[in-house]
């Protein structure tokens, strides 16, 4: 049985400006244009780019769409447009029913006021009337598990407690469309599992749009996936296929970035092996060509996982003294001992820094891949 379509987006586009001052000026021009009823022509002006470019999708009741993509791919912008916070520059959105958002949990909390008072404030911001809050008050407190502290000022709550209270209030809304933006990344394990139970409960009668970097969360909740790449839809389909497409993109799509600043003329970094076993050592060979001597220099490697999260860091000056890089060509070798990472593919970044330099002298971002083999399997960060 096909359910009614609750969300439909057609040719959705949004442009952003890269420069703050220009952005502010365009803001004034746009407001003035709006006042005199001029419709924007939808062309890019100087220093603008499309943050979201021609996105189409439909979502029915009971479906859950996972939005995935790298940082800056436009996920949050898309969510803000769906939430009605900003207007699309082109295209249209049609939404049916009440829209709820698990974004910015606890917005409008005043730290001096008690939890009880803040429930009413937060509820009112989300569009609940006083009667509705009264009716659900006990439910909110017991869900947040804060009955002992409800008359204490919110500033005495831990950040996890604040999020619990925020989630408890926001999830009592009975929305038709629910937007979730990585809101659940905090809180302890018990509370997170409670949150997922609540979301699953809501899922029966709502259309959910979920933004996250965690494949475990995505695979658990969503049935559909939409992969955004630089503002465009690069894949649309089942969540498994979308996650696979995302992996491929992460592996190939973003090319390496290599930068060297004065006095370094060039730098190259090579790994002893592209594939290592769990617990074995990783050797890196660095060749530098510098115009001048660099005092107090250090090398730094960071290891990123598929979700672009840093899982490891190694600095040479934690394992020895700062070094002096001589003028001319020099070669360095470093051994990072016993890499204990879960089986999978990682990307590496390299930095040459100096104690007294504000900026990096060399930055190689995503310069190579490293495959780790072994029996240890990666777990999603949060297990339920």
């Amino acid at each position: 049985m096909s359910q009614e379509v609750l969300v439909s987006a057609q040719g959705l586009s949004k442009k952003f400006c890269k420069d703050l001052r220009t952005s502010l000026r365009y803001g004034v021009i746009d407001v003035a244009g709006e006042l005199f009823g001029r419709t924007p022509d939808g062309m890019l002006r100087n220093k603008e780019f499309w943050a979201i470019d021609g996105v189409d999708f439909e979502l029915r009741r009971g479906e859950c769409l996972g939005l995935i993509g790298r940082n800056g791919a436009g996920k949050t912008t898309l969510l803000r447009m769906l939430n009605g916070l900003i207007k699309p520059d082109r295209g249209s959105i049609t939404m049916k029913g009440r829209v709820g958002a698990l974004i910015a949990l606890g917005a409008g909390f005043n730290p001096i006021l008690t939890g009880r008072e803040n429930i009413y404030v937060n509820g009112a911001v989300l569009g609940l009337s006083k009667a509705e809050i009264n009716a659900r008050f006990e439910e909110i407190i017991s869900f947040a598990d804060l009955s002992d502290f409800i008359d204490a000022p919110v500033q005495s709550y831990s950040s996890g407690m604040q999020v619990r209270l925020g989630f408890a209030v926001a999830s009592t809304l009975d929305p038709d469309v629910l937007l979730i933006d990585e809101a659940l990344a905090v809180g302890d394990v018990q509370f997170r599992s409670k949150c997922y139970d609540r979301i699953r409960e809501l899922q029966q009668r709502t259309a959910i749009i979920f933004v996250s970097h965690h494949r475990g969360d995505l695979a658990r909740i969503c049935d559909q996936g939409l992969l955004l790449t630089k503002g465009r839809v690069s894949y649309k389909g089942s969540i498994e296929d979308a996650l696979n497409a995302y992996d491929e993109e992460a592996a190939s799509g973003s090319g390496p970035v290599r930068m060297a600043h004065e006095p370094v003329r060039s730098a190259s970094v090579e790994l002893g092996a592209d594939e290592i076993a769990w617990g074995s050592d990783l050797v890196a060979r660095i060749t530098l060509e510098s115009d001048a001597t660099i005092e107090d220099a250090y090398f730094r490697f960071t290891i990123m996982d598929e979700g672009d999260e840093c899982v490891g860091e190694w600095r040479s000056h934690h394992h020895g003294p700062y070094v002096t890089v001589p003028a001319g060509t020099s070669t360095w070798e470093h051994r990072m001992s016993s890499i204990k990472l879960a089986r999978g593919t990682y990307r590496l970044n390299f930095v040459l820094g100096a104690k007294r330099a504000a900026e990096y002298l060399v930055l190689h971002y995503n310069f190579t891949q490293l495959t780790v083999t072994g029996d240890v399997v990666g777990l999603s960060r949060y297990q339920i």
Binding site: S23, L24, E34, I86, A104, G108, L113, E117
Partner: protein
Amino acid sequence: MWQDLYASKELSWRLARRDISAQYRGTILGYLWAFILPLANTLTWVFLQGAGIVKVADTGMPYAVYVLTGTMLWQMFIEALQSPLQQVTAARSMLAKLNFPREALIVSGMIKWGFNAIVKVVVLVPVIMLLGVRPNESILLLPFAMAAILVVGTAIGLLLAPVGLLYTDIGRSIPILAQFAMFITPVVFAMPQGGLWARLFQWNFMTPLLLQGRAWLTGSWGPMALEFLVVLAVFSLLLFLGWAIYRLAMPILIERMSS
């Protein structure tokens, strides 16, 4: 527009209550703070005048009463003027992330203003009676003068708010400009009798509001009732215009703010 305004009434009330109770929870003097600033201001001017540093023409009432009523009404105007921008700036992160009727911020600012204004009047009236002024039934018109001050202040503040949200220059310059404006309004000085100054005072739209408000407080009917009504009518229209602009401008401004 009116529907959204109606829909926002509960939220406005909530937000105002939140801010008022939070504002006074961390103080010992509590509500008296609404009165202390004008009082300090008055003492300064009474001292300056008593010591002969500043010479003020005859004001027709004890000078302390003149300054106290003047600064009190002027303070109300400044608060109303700053309220929209302050409200919107304080709620930036909420605006960037949540969808709620944007009117609620302005209306809750007006409620807060009303609360502070009432505190001021409740303290002010006994004090000026103590200083020898006998208010009469004209004081019943005082709320009318206060409402007019609210309308004028909010109208200007609301017109400035969209630009002020983008450029902080606006928020910074309001207190400076207000300082200058105070000296061409009969707040601490009496109306000058002739010359350029007199003209500046006469063309100043705040003059009728100040004079009428003070007159109604101190037991007379006031000299500029007609001008008062004209100012009120013009600024009511401007308030409506400011509201319409605010509604149109908010989505555009929000996308320029960080999320």
